[in-house]
Symmetry: C2
Subunit: 286 residues, 2 copies
Amino acid sequence: MYTNFVHTKILNTTRRPTIGVFDSGFGGLTVLKALLEVVPDAEYAYFGDTARLPYGSKSVETVARYAVEASHFLESQGAQLLVIACNTATALALDRICAAAHVPVVGVVEPGAEAASSATKNRKVVVIGTEATVSSHAYRKALENRGLQAREKACPLLVPLVEEGWVEHSVTEQVAQIYLAEAFADGFHDADTMVLGCTHYPLLKSLLRRVAPAHVSIVDSAESTARAVSTHFQELLPDSDSGVEERRSAPRLKFFATDSTEKFRRLGQRFLGLPIENVEHVDLKE
Amino acid sequence: MYTNFVHTKILNTTRRPTIGVFDSGFGGLTVLKALLEVVPDAEYAYFGDTARLPYGSKSVETVARYAVEASHFLESQGAQLLVIACNTATALALDRICAAAHVPVVGVVEPGAEAASSATKNRKVVVIGTEATVSSHAYRKALENRGLQAREKACPLLVPLVEEGWVEHSVTEQVAQIYLAEAFADGFHDADTMVLGCTHYPLLKSLLRRVAPAHVSIVDSAESTARAVSTHFQELLPDSDSGVEERRSAPRLKFFATDSTEKFRRLGQRFLGLPIENVEHVDLKE
């Protein structure tokens, strides 16, 4: 259960470890939503780089620079574990973020690939994502490392359609049909698993379920990422029993955004599925 | 006529005045295209803030900060006149840019409103643009100052559809139909003029021509802005005849982008309608 949290400094004011969650904007809130279910006994600091979104159409250099800045910010807020809840940032910059961070880092690509590997029977997987994620071939590499065949397909219109709120709209259905027809063409018509390689796409899950071939399993990397985080999180817990009571209370959430906090509150709750009360504006240039 | 230019420092190496053109990305190239026809005897420095696009979904504070940085950059490149070839930056930050600049500044909203005022017979005008431009009501104010009634309509999907290259696609036509049906509803069915309040939209002009009511005149603010710039430009020309020969040669263009230069070249030529050869990467943080 989540309740409104009291706005407090996270640094060392609690015995519960803080997990820093980072995304270019709102999509990472679908990962946070999964984390709240799987790892409820944590503090959370969520950073949305909304002034510079979207990352999906930007270059490696730019995304890496932004992601490293965000990671440092979250560490300054006391994060003892970083979740890169953005497929583009993970795909383009996970190595750079790991090298720059002083705490463990979990991205969304490896957990997504692992879940696809468990789900597929014929070892043929389709991945849909942003232009930048697809161009990086991070998913293809992660899937091929597991002995799977992969087809990646960029779907640049799906993010703006979600942000327009057209999650159950005939236009979105047509766009998804066009993209998925191309994704499942030419030797991939029998792929039996599709990875949602963008944290916006879980909002389209039921529409994509209708549009995708009926035999296809859909893998939401938000859920598999939350399970991966859970493993790391156990290592952060103190051995003693002190603080167990506090750990069992509802998670506390703190949100940071680089653009309008009002817009973050308004749009963010669509992704988190919960009201967002406390958002602080951050200017990374300062 | 435009020919490939030699990549040279603009500062004081020529008698031809330099016009600095600024946009969040590629859309401003439609304004540059109009400028090349109307003011061929200039140097041009075009700055596309592609690492931080789009501005259309961002807040006033963020857009103003980015736009002022861009203006200072163009001045540092020798610009003697600034064209804010971005409706969102003009609508949200023209006053801040003018206050921060040391040279004359021309935005796209006033020329667009002026052209609409000339075109309309029944004084009722529809303006389509990004969410941020529409929320600012900059067009409504500019049109009401001229005694016109205005209806503004945000069309956030049109920019991503143009960037996907779907400029003559049935999905784009349906999206435009939905947006324009709302724009021309409730007392505006007889509006006789529609302003393209976003520099991406000229690429959709023929599609919008089909979708808009037949009696509606479409105003492209790129063209009216170019005419406004032409007036200012005359004042920058030296009185003497020296340099007339040089001034008459083809315009020289220099492009700067904050994200990938390769992508700027590739996507940019769709908007400019000409090959883009020389793009320099700029990092405004340094």
